[in-house]
Amino acid sequence: MADAIVAEGLVKRYGSVVALDGLDLVVPEGTITGLLGPNGAGKTTAVRVFTTLLQQDAGRATVAGLDVVTDATALRGRIGLSGQYAAVDENLTGFENLDMVGRLYHLGKKRSRERSRELLERFDLVEAADRPTKGYSGGMRRRLDLAAALVAEPSVLFLDEPTTGLDPRSRLGMWDVIAELVAGGTTLLLTTQYLEEADRLADQIAVIDRGRVIAEGTADQLKDQVGGERLELSVGSARDVATAGSALARLAIGEIVVDDRGHRLTVPVTGGAPVLVEAIRLLDGEGVKVLDVGLRRPTLDDVFLALTGHGAEESTTGGSAG
């Protein structure tokens, strides 16, 4: 299978700020790649280079086999972009916005209209179709902007934080649309700060921080990278903490972390559900009063924290210019 997006050593500087610092990325055709990173990581900058809005200072990139610098015009005919901030014209109606984009993709008058109506239907904007978008809610604009990216049925689609600012219901709706699209064969590069979104949608995740990819793989691979399963339990008293600790020492494959104040223990283990059953049997045998117990895998949050040294949503790096 060919690669839809290839980046080799992309560098982009803004004065002294290095937005991209040797970014390497490969997105195979027909897959979803999630670009995950804190504020200022360089996600938007990368998307801008791929969509020919910005020229890199060094390195090279191709999209659909076309170079972003030398084949820019041909490339633009193959991609769709929905930027971080919805770029809809507020004086035009929803329909006029899409039709304008269709005409500029040179779909022809008839096809452009048909396609616009089709997309308005699909994004649940039929009722608002003939109203100026000035009166649209943030979520409606976002949906219209995504629709605009899809007008020409692009083979490679770029969505920069497509669900930021959407309510939970709209977000779920957007996820469905995105999943459907890719089932149709579109390649998608998606940036997000929501780990759940990357977990749910992406075939492959690239974690980026300070302009470079610091980890890559499926959500599972990334989770394994920061650590395997662990048993988490809370018990009734400080005395129980000590008893539980010695009872479970046999199952632990690493150091048991004890939080005395909350009477909680975290025990790294391996072996899946049977370990959990065994643990409960051991604790019961010692008469430990267990309040809560569970077998947990690291979340992408843990991955993120472990890799970047800071959480996704509480990052302090740089401004949020995007």
Binding site: R48, T51, T52, L53, L54, T73, A74, R76, G77, I79, L81, G83, Y85, A86, A87, D89, E90, N91, L92, E96, M100, V101, R103, L104, Y105, H106, P132, A148, A321
Partner: protein, 267 residues
């Protein structure tokens, strides 16, 4: 479809989009005509009695000047419109589409030309109300209006460059205000150049705005053949001078504006 036809088609799509805005936000047109109407009234009634122009009635003299000033202000919409589009991310959308690189600018300048034509109609009616008359043939009068509009069109490409560089409609509006006032006042627009002091007189005589104003005045028949224009080449050959200025503006501004557009990315 060949490249040129496609570029024109793309430009037309963008122009249509801008014209829809004029339709949806009519205040824009109202306000861009209100201030020149106010100028006509102020100059005609307040200054008109104090300003003497040899050989013609001041109101007749005044109108061509006000037309020039108005179309130049109209041309600044090109810059503020582009700056606004950059700010709102619309230019990013356009730049990601496989459309002609010139289309956004061609569309913008064209729709602003249409806007200026509408403003001129309103202004002419106001002028007729305060006593301005056209004394030439229909063809000459149309040539006069055409020349004013063409001049503004060429000028709007310059405004496009500034708008793309400053990228903020507010900054652009302040900057263009500061530039256009001297450009349209140090000229033969509201008073004759004859009594201006030394350097100012030369500047006024060679100001492109003076050439086009003089040309419009002559084409509308608002000059007195008994009183020849000042002895400066651009005013003696005002139509030719205006056409030359238009050509120079287009040759210089169009490529520069397109180059600047290619680089314009919102922050």
């Amino acid at each position: 479809m060949n490249g040129f036809a496609q570029a024109l088609g793309d430009g037309a799509v963008v122009a249509k989009r801008n014209l829809i805005k004029i339709k949806r936000v009519p205040d824009l047109l109202v306000f861009s005509t209100l201030s020149p109407i106010m100028f006509v009234l102020l100059f005609a009634y307040v200054f008109g009695s104090a300003i003497e122009v040899p050989g013609v009635d001041y109101r007749e003299f005044l109108m061509a000047g006000i037309f020039s000033q108005t179309v130049l202000f109209g041309a600044t919409i090109t810059g503020s419109g582009l700056a606004e589009d950059i700010q709102k991310g619309v230019i990013d959308r356009f730049r990601s589409l496989p459309m002609a690189r010139s289309a956004v600018l061609v569309g913008r300048t064209t729709s602003d030309l249409v806007n200026n034509a509408l403003v001129i109609v309103v202004m002419s009616l106001t002028g007729l109300v305060v006593g301005w008359r056209i004394h030439s043939s229909v063809w000459e009068a149309l040539a006069g209006f055409g020349l004013l509009l063409l001049f503004a069109y060429a000028f709007s490409w310059g405004m496009a460059i500034v708008g793309l560089v400053v990228r903020s409609p507010e900054v652009f509006n302040n900057a263009s205000f500061i530039a256009i006032f001297p450009l349209t006042f140090v000229a033969n627009t509201f008073v004759g150049t004859a009594n201006l002091p030394g350097v100012l007189k030369t500047v006024a005589e060679w100001n492109p705005v003076s050439a086009v104003t003089q040309a419009a005045r002559e084409l509308f028949g608002n000059t007195n053949p008994a009183v020849p224009p000042p002895d400066a080449w651009p005013l003696r050959h005002s139509v030719l001078a205006s056409l030359l200025w238009i050509a120079v503006f287009l040759v210089v501004f169009v490529p520069l504006a397109i180059r600047q557009y290619r680089r314009a990315v919102s922050r």
